[in-house]
């Protein structure tokens, strides 16, 4: 079933980590397998935050050597960053297998991503000037606690609670997806894409990489491709309704915007609240109520509806 949520402060920033946690926790019943956040903090000048993992959570319970192995993988990643001239400003360990590096780099982002992900078991979850993408198994409360997200200040974010239907229960298949190799662009999706494999093969021929077998990853790659070829976010969202087959409602976030698109069948839910200060949208109103408890006016966007809001 899956639940998606998004929130954007239109005037300044808010406690986006805590707000997204409240929204996603109230959608837990739509899918308890994993929870993910794409949240946008204050961009640093010429700095990026690279979130990456070198193993799956389940790998950590396999054998005695895995802890040495993740250390080796992490060292290899650092070695490759150094080889490309990346300067590491600071680094945090959220878990034994997932890390946050603040870096400075002015080279080719795709080259960097490809080189890092070539290390066995390694996946870049996000690479952003403002974006930080966090996802792991369990509900929002657990992931927020694990990654210390409740204190995160920012302008906007999107999130996802997953009921695995199209692929495995692992971090690799959890949402959001980073629109590789585009900085700051992330996607969450509720639905099923029926021309996933056909489109995936087409994008792979064009050199795009897929890290999972989850159909939702296609939306991130599709968005990255469109933006790379000059489309605006709104144009990409609108075009997706024609190009992508299936039932879907999805959210896309960029450094300063939040967008949504709903397919032609309107079979996947979305409830929307909009004010001068705040836009909140989610699969169910209960998620909006989690952050705005007082009486408000909300509505369901219709089929083929596309909206974009700026921070």
């Amino acid at each position: 079933m899956c639940g998606i949520a998004g929130l954007i402060h239109r005037k300044g920033s808010g406690n986006i980590g805590q707000e997204m946690t409240q929204m996603l926790q109230s959608l837990k019943h739509r899918g308890p397998d994993s929870t993910g956040y794409a949240i946008y903090g204050t961009p640093g000048r010429n700095e990026y935050v690279m979130r990456f993992k070198v193993a799956e959570q389940e790998d950590m319970a396999k054998g005695f050597d895995i802890h040495d192995e993740v250390k080796r993988r992490r060292a290899k990643v650092e070695e490759r960053l150094a080889a490309l001239g990346v300067q590491i400003i600071d680094k945090d360990e959220a878990t034994d297998y997932a890390y946050r590096y603040r870096i400075q780099y002015d080279g080719d982002m795709k080259k960097l991503a490809d080189y890092v992900e070539d290390v066995d078991g390694t996946e870049i979850l996000s690479m952003g000037n403002a974006l930080e993408l966090i996802k792991d198994l369990g509900d929002a409360a657990r992931v927020a606690e694990q990654y210390d997200l409740r204190k995160f200040k920012g302008t906007h974010g999107i999130g996802h609670t997953r009921m695995a239907t199209e692929s495995d229960v692992d971090i690799r298949s959890a949402h959001p997806y980073w629109a590789y190799p585009y900085n700051d662009i992330a996607v969450v999706h509720n639905g099923q894409l029926t021309n996933y494999w056909m489109m995936r093969r087409e994008f792979e021929r064009r050199g795009h990489r897929f890290m999972s077998n989850c159909d939702s990853e296609l939306l991130a790659v599709y968005t990255a491709y469109n933006l790379e070829h000059g489309a605006t976010l709104e144009e990409s969202l609108r075009q997706s309704i024609q190009d992508i087959d299936g039932v879907f409602t999805y959210l896309v976030s960029t450094k300063d915007a939040l967008g949504m698109a709903k397919d032609t069948m309107a079979a996947k839910p979305m409830v929307l609240y909009e004010s001068d200060d705040l836009v909140a949208l989610a699969s169910e109103e209960v998620a909006i109520r989690a952050v705005i408890p007082h009486e408000i006016d909300t509505w369901d966007p219709y089929d083929e509806e596309v909206r974009v809001w700026r921070a």
Binding site: A266, E284, E285, R289, T298, D300, D303
Partner: protein, 285 residues
Amino acid sequence: MAGLTTTKQAHVSHDMGMHTEALRGKTQQRFFDVTEEGGGYGYPDALDVDFNKRAELDCEKLDTKQINAQLRDLMKRGYGTIVLQNPGSKHSLAVGILNRLNLYIEGSCGYFACGLLDGPNVKIKGRVGWACGENMLSGTILIEKNAGSQFGAALRGGDIVCKGSVGARTGIDQKGGNIIVGGDTGSFSGFMMQRGRMVICGNAGKNLGDSMYDGTIYLGGEARSLGVDAVPGEMTALDREWLTRKLKMYGMYPAKGIGHFKKIVAGKQLWNYDNLEPGEKKLVL
């Protein structure tokens, strides 16, 4: 009982300004006669409630199961007017009430609110999520704000009224009763409609009345497209009389009158109830 305060109000009117039309379904005629207040209620477990006995229930710290259980408990204790405060868009509120009751919900509801009702009059101050009033048999639901998709799905009787706009597939598989929408509806409204009436004061999305078998749709605005087998019908004096009465009843009669309303009915070209499929014919022969 957590969150509950009760007051005895001898002279509180139970009249919510809503009425239920004479019921036509066989099951409803047998079990329930709303015109006979306090009697004639045929469900085996029907509760004798007093509309002047009023209770308020604060839902903030209760889950859906607790709220619905407390509603039943209050009805067992004879409360005929119940107010739910702070519903918080919780799902499945007030489902399956087979009793006379005046229920006021002071806020918004999530999915499946007020499904399978047979008898109560419900007034909701906020909005409702998907599938509100699904399979309702009789009674009224009046919503002040917007509603989600599948509004009044498989409705069998009673009135379900939304003063705002509603989502896609409104009244899908409607089998009776009346759906009245003050604003717009999404695509595939009236899909596979079988009986009853639907009123859309605003615009409708694409494929309005797609594959409808029977029933009537009154449309005040424009439809993006009509569905397969939905065709324009002729507004009669009876249609105008009914529409006027219903819209006035709920305070939704437009300032410009109802002259602009269009009627949509089934073309009845898709009916195949009386025809055997080719394969079945072969077996018969």
